[in-house]
Each structure stands twice: as structure tokens, then as C-alpha cells.
């Protein structure tokens, strides 16, 4: 397209031409003064020309709308402008059409900005994929890849499908899905998502989801549904504007006929345009939900934004949410001088090898981490349900478990053993005593590692205006209390069954709180469903969570939760401000017309300004706030298991380098 044609087709060309004609008209009347009788009144001719340039598209649009039996804003402006020309108010006609045209162009440009988050998501979807078929590479449309086929993704290219890395290694920028800009390392067996970008290496990916069945498509779908879902406040605004415009038209007709005042009637038509009223809420919702999507926070709709802004209690599941959900060996307390740490680990690893005991994996991992050689399986293992295991290792009888197991093994529980077990339990860890041939030699302890960002999340929620953070857990009270102290939650309810979690949420709601529940969505499903806002963590890759949760956090990152709450609060704030602007504009214009002073041109100017103010206000939501960025940088994982004080027992923790 040539530059000239682009200029003509640009949305700014019509307002520019009309504006130039208006200026020319002013120049003529200023230089020449009133036209002498009999000569062509050039100033008026130029004004009418300006009105025609700016007004023609409006009239065309009005006629189209009428053909579709819609009385739109275009019709009001057309009637007002034509009426103004007929009664000789050329300047008014030109001003109204010019302001409307330039306002409209600005609105279109800025409204598209508020939708930019969604447009970017759609643009992220890759069009083509390189498929390996019979050993050769074929470039095909991304949607035509079949499930199970292998696609090749080269450095710098977008992943075209959801899939699993079959071969290769690399780094992937997953910002389009999770909002996290740091690239993630990917190796064989790792999940990758369509629309993410390989920033290093080459990956061969086996497709598990294509086209409309990718995480990206689910996100886009979800964002669109959310943006279109109407909030309660909007239903009211829609009702209001539904009667406002026809009401004003009738009023204009009646006043025009009764008072024989055409100017008043036309002015009323201009201010009958329901501009800011209708879009005040949708722009805020579109911008807020779009902003969230960019940050990996999916909110189900305007209704949920309004509820999320009112959250004052957040209920959090412990295991897998505040903690990583995979127990780690934390302590090795040696009680017998003939043993040392490595020997205890080797013995325990050998005894636990191949067993289903909860301690098996943490012990084997710890032994591997400390370079203790794995010495094969025990001759014999026997699980003792609820107590531990008893194994035969090199002819010796090794028991690992709680004190009940050791008593059953006739081991004498002396004071050192009892103290060690007690202290570890008090610190919120799960102690396991180890005995060899009836003599206690050590106590091992494991704990579920607290996520490094858990404390940051709780502090962030408090900052975002949440009054109480409540931990709901099925775990024992001592363990729960230790985690709670570490993380800073306000309240702990431990030992809960899933249905009791639900009852706890209900009780909080009955006390008048708006409750958000955060969980992994598996055993918390009932509580998530009954909470005012159910939050699913780490939803990327699970289409179900994306489609069903009220708020889905794409990344498994707790810090996104305070971000979501404050985004909801800011969006609702913008909604309220916009409604106020719209209502005040309507009231002021009506008063201005009734009491005089508001002409057609002023009416149109105020109207357009109010629309643009509402859009500009919503666009504030799209800007990333510096505070969010700062919060992301501040985070440095603290050591989560502080060693017990040396005065207790000669405790050593795995967080230290083995000496």
C-alpha cells in the first residue's frame, strides 16, 4: 500500500481533513470578515464542507444501523448535525461532527489497546510446525499436526504444540503461558506448551495437544469468556443506558415541539449519546483480565473480579501448597558412638531399599546426595503398618520407625532417644528411630520442605488487604504449627478431613467473611468449590483447572496470589471511578442544557472527553507496576530448615555441606 493510500485509509485522515477545513473557515472569516452581500460566503461554505467530510461516515454508519433496525449513537449525531446545518448553525454542525470523528478515532485506537493482552495471546499461537515424518522434516500448519507425532523445535522458534520433550535439551521462555520471563530448562520427559519460545538448544517434542486443545488455546478461550462475562455492576449500567438514550430522544422531541426550540432539541440529542456509560465497566474488565492473563493469572470474569476484590480471608492447604509436598530427610541424630552419620545413612538406605515406607525415598535421596554408596537390597524386609519397617541387613536386625515400633522390638527407650525424638517432633518434623539388634543407634527426621516463597505470599496478602490467612490441613497439629510459625499465617486448623475443610470454609463464610481457598484441587476440591473464590495453583498444562477454577495461577508460584488479589482490587477501583465519571458527565450535561450554557459543540466535547477519560483510566491497569517487579526481585529463598540448637543433641542437618 502506498503512503498516500495508507493516509487516506488511516483512521486519522477524516478528522484531519475536517479540522483543516474548520481552520480554513476561521482564517477566511478572520481575514476577510463577513462576506459582502451577493458574494459566496466562503467561511460558511468551508464549515459546511468540514461537516460533510466528518459527517458522511457517521451518516453512512447510521443508515447501516437503521437498516439493521438499530438506533445508535451515529443516528443521534447525524440528526443533530443535519439539523444544525438546516437552521444555519454551520459551526456547530462542523464542531459536533469533527469532535465525534476525532473522538471515535481515539476511542478505536485506545480500546484496541485495552484488548492488547488478548491480541498478543492470539498472536503468540504459532502457525506452522516442523514435523518429522519418515525421518525427514516437513513444514505443516500447526493445527494439522496429529497427536503422537514428533515436531522439531529449533533455537529461536516457537513451540507449535503442547507436548513432551522426547529428545534434546534446551531453555524455553514460557512467559506467554506463565508470565514468568526467566527461561525454564527442559530435558527429556518435560512438558512444553504451544506458544512458548525455545531460547537455547533444539527440542524434539511428541505432540500431546494441538490446535484448540493446547494450554494456550484454553487460556485464550478462558480470557475471552471472562472478558465477555458481565459483572453485576454492568447489568445495572446496561439497564440504565437502555432507557437513558430513548428517554433523551423523547425528551428532545417533546421539548422541541412544546418550546419551539430546535437548538435545545438538537443539543439534547447530542448529549443523549450514552458513550461513557456503556463502556465504563467493560473497558475496566477487559483491561484487568488482560493484565492478569499477561502475568499468568486467569480470572473467570467480571463477577469474580468483584468478589476477589472483597476477599478478607484466605484459606490455604498446607501440603503441596505452602510446602513442596515431597518430604526431605532433615536430620540425622547419632546416638551410638560406634556409628557416624555416613554409616547410619548407609544402614538406613540399605534397610529401606525397595520398601514402600514413607521414609524410603527421602533416605535414599539423602544417601545419594551425600555420596554414600548404595549397597543393594536387604536380605529381608517386613513393613509394620503404622509403625515402620523391620529389615535384615548383613544378618543384623534393623528397625526403623516410631517409638511404638522400638517398644515392640523390645528396645530400651533411654532418655537420649526420647529427648531427640521429642525435640524433632516439637520442631514439626517426623522423627524415626533406628535400632540395630535391639540397640538404639540414631534418630532420623523428615519434613516436608516449606516453599521459599510461602512467607512472602502471606506477607503480600496482608499487604493487599487480606485480614486473615488460615491454614487448613489434615496433618498433625505439631507439624502444622511449626509450618505456620515459619510462614506467618494467622490461624491454624489441623487434623482436618476433606469434608471438615469444607465445613471450616463454610464457618468462615457464616462469620461474614469473603473466603478464597487455595489448593491443588485434588483433595481440596469440595472446599475449593464452596469458597467464594477457588484458586488453583500451577494450572498450566491442566485444561480442566484453567476452565473451572475461579482464579487459575498458571505458575506454581505462591507470590502470584497477592498479585491476583491486588489486581482485582485495582480493577474494581477503576470500575467504580469509571461509573462515577460517566454518571457525573450525564448529570452535568443535563444540568448544563437545562440551565443553559451547554451548546451542541460543548456537549459533544464533554461527551468525547468523558469516554476517553474512562478508557485512559482503564489503561492504567495494563501498566506493570514497579512494585510488582520489585517484589519479584526481592525474593531469595531462605534456608527453610534451621538446624536445632546444638544444646539439644548433636544434630546435623542436610542443608549443610557434609564435612
Amino acid at each position: 500500500m502506498s503512503a498516500v493510500r495508507r493516509l487516506i485509509r488511516s483512521r486519522w485522515s477524516i478528522p484531519a481533513a475536517a479540522g483543516a477545513l474548520i481552520l480554513a473557515s476561521f482564517a477566511v472569516s478572520g481575514l476577510v470578515g463577513p462576506a459582502p452581500a451577493g458574494a459566496l460566503p466562503w467561511a460558511d461554505v468551508l464549515m459546511i464542507a468540514a461537516a460533510m467530510v466528518a459527517g458522511t461516515p457517521i451518516v453512512v454508519s447510521a443508515v447501516r444501523a437503521l437498516r439493521a433496525k438499530v438506533i445508535g449513537i451515529d443516528l443521534l449525531v447525524s440528526v443533530a448535525a443535519i439539523g444544525a446545518v438546516v437552521i444555519g448553525n454551520h459551526w456547530e454542525a462542523a464542531a459536533v461532527t469533527f469532535l465525534f470523528a476525532i473522538g471515535h478515532a481515539l476511542e478505536a485506537a485506545t480500546l484496541n489497546k485495552t484488548r492488547s493482552a488478548l491480541a498478543e495471546l492470539v498472536a503468540v499461537a504459532p502457525d506452522t510446525a516442523i514435523v518429522l515424518r519418515d525421518g525427514s522434516q516437513h513444514e505443516v500448519p500447526a493445527a494439522s499436526v496429529a497427536i503422537g507425532e514428533t515436531v522439531l523445535v529449533k533455537n529461536g522458534a516457537k513451540v507449535p504444540v503442547d507436548g513432551v520433550v522426547e529428545h534434546g535439551a534446551g531453555a524455553v521462555d514460557e512467559a506467554s503461558i506463565t508470565g514468568e520471563s526467566l527461561p525454564v530448562e527442559k530435558a527429556d520427559g518435560d512438558q512444553v506448551f504451544a506458544g512458548t519460545m525455545v531460547t537455547a538448544g533444539v527440542l524434539q517434542v511428541r505432540a500431546t495437544g494441538v490446535g484448540a486443545d493446547t494450554t494456550l488455546a484454553h487460556i485464550i478461550h478462558r480470557v475471552e469468556e471472562a472478558q465477555d462475562a458481565k459483572a453485576k455492576t454492568q447489568a445495572f449500567m446496561d439497564r440504565f443506558s437502555a432507557w437513558y438514550t430513548p428517554g433523551i430522544i423523547l425528551l428532545a422531541l417533546a421539548l422541541g415541539l412544546i418550546m419551539q426550540d430546535v437548538v435545545l432539541a438538537l443539543t439534547l440529542l447530542v448529549i443523549g449519546c450514552p458513550g461513557a456509560l456503556v463502556i465504563s465497566i467493560p473497558v475496566a474488565i477487559v483491561a484487568g483480565i488482560g493484565r492478569g492473563a499477561k502475568d499468568g493469572i486467569l480470572i473467570k470474569g467480571g463477577e469474580y473480579l468483584e468478589t476477589a476484590a472483597k476477599i478478607d480471608v484466605v484459606a490455604v492447604d498446607k501440603t503441596g501448597t505452602l510446602t513442596e509436598g515431597t518430604p526431605q530427610l532433615t536430620d540425622v541424630v547419632v546416638l551410638d558412638d560406634t556409628y557416624d552419620r555416613r554409616r547410619v545413612l548407609a544402614l538406613a538406605a540399605r534397610a529401606e531399599a525397595g520398601s514402600e515406607h514413607p521414609l524410603a525415598r527421602p533416605v535414599l535421596e539423602a544417601a545419594a546426595r551425600e555420596g554414600v554408596p548404595a549397597a543393594g537390597l536387604p536380605e529381608h524386609t517386613e513393613p509394620v503398618p503404622g509403625k515402620g519397617i523391620v529389615a535384615t541387613v548383613d544378618g543384623r536386625r534393623v528397625a526403623i520407625g516410631n517409638l511404638a515400633l522400638l517398644q515392640a522390638e523390645n528396645v530400651e527407650v533411654d532418655e537420649r532417644l526420647a529427648t531427640a525424638v521429642d525435640r524433632l517432633a516439637a520442631a514439626g518434623r517426623t522423627p524415626m528411630a533406628v535400632s540395630v539388634d535391639g540397640r538404639p543407634v540414631a534418630v532420623l527426621a523428615m519434613a516436608d520442605r516449606i516453599r521459599p516463597e510461602a512467607a512472602t505470599m502471606v506477607a503480600g496478602l496482608h499487604r493487599a488487604g487480606v485480614r486473615r490467612v488460615v491454614m487448613l490441613t489434615g496433618d498433625a497439629a505439631r507439624v502444622a504449627a511449626a509450618v505456620a510459625a515459619e510462614v506467618g499465617v494467622d490461624e491454624v486448623q489441623a487434623g482436618l478431613l476433606p469434608e471438615q475443610k469444607l465445613a471450616a470454609v463454610r464457618a468462615l463464610q457464616a462469620a461474614g467473611h469473603v473466603v478464597a481457598m487455595v489448593g491443588d484441587g485434588v483433595n481440596d476440591a469440595p472446599a475449593l468449590a464452596v469458597a467464594d473464590i477457588g484458586v488453583a495453583m500451577g494450572a498450566a498444562g491442566t485444561g480442566v483447572a484453567i476452565e473451572t477454577a475461579d482464579v487459575a495461577l498458571m505458575q506454581d508460584d505462591l507470590r502470584k496470589l497477592p498479585q491476583a488479589v491486588s489486581l482485582a482490587r485495582r480493577t474494581v477501583g477503576v470500575m467504580r471511578q469509571n461509573v462515577a465519571v460517566a454518571m457525573i458527565t450525564v448529570a452535568a450535561l443535563l444540568a448544563g442544557v437545562v440551565f443553559g450554557g451547554v451548546t451542541m459543540a460543548i456537549g459533544m466535547l464533554v461527551h468525547e472527553l468523558s469516554v476517553l477519560a474512562v478508557i485512559a483510566n482503564a489503561m492504567r491497569l495494563l501498566r506493570r507496576r514497579a512494585a510488582v517487579e520489585r517484589a519479584k526481585r526481592v525474593e531469595s529463598p531462605r534456608p527453610v530448615h534451621t538446624p536445632l540448637s546444638p544444646s539439644s543433641v548433636e544434630a546435623t542437618t542436610l542443608s549443610k555441606e557434609p564435612s
Partner: protein
Amino acid sequence: MNTHTTLRAEGFSCPSCVNKIEKQVGRLDGVDDVKVHFASSRIEVDHDPTLIGVDDLVAAVGKAGYTAAPSAF
């Protein structure tokens, strides 16, 4: 045999566009249902592809004064 087509439009600036497009597209032969979403500027059409193709839908939206393009999802 009906298909469901999603078009993405640009430049919805006021909710009256919704009625305009719904009426313009809705009265075409072979269109069973049309839903226009203002906020996300999407147009969803249920139509009979033997009577009316995606290009015709785009043209109809164009006649109402808006540019639209078909979308995969």
C-alpha cells in the same frame, strides 16, 4: 451438517456494533445463530457451510462496517 466459525474483528468501539452485526449476519441464508461478543470483539456463527462459507460471513461483517478474520479457535 452445521459448523461453528469464530471470527475475530477489529475496532468494536461501542456496543451498538453488536446489534448491527448480529442483524446483518443473522438474516443470511444458512446462518442459524450468530453471537457477537463486544468485550473480546469475537463473532461466533453457527452456519451451514454448504449454503454459506466463511468468506461470505467475513463479507457480511464487512458490509456492517467492520473488518474480521476467521480464527482457528
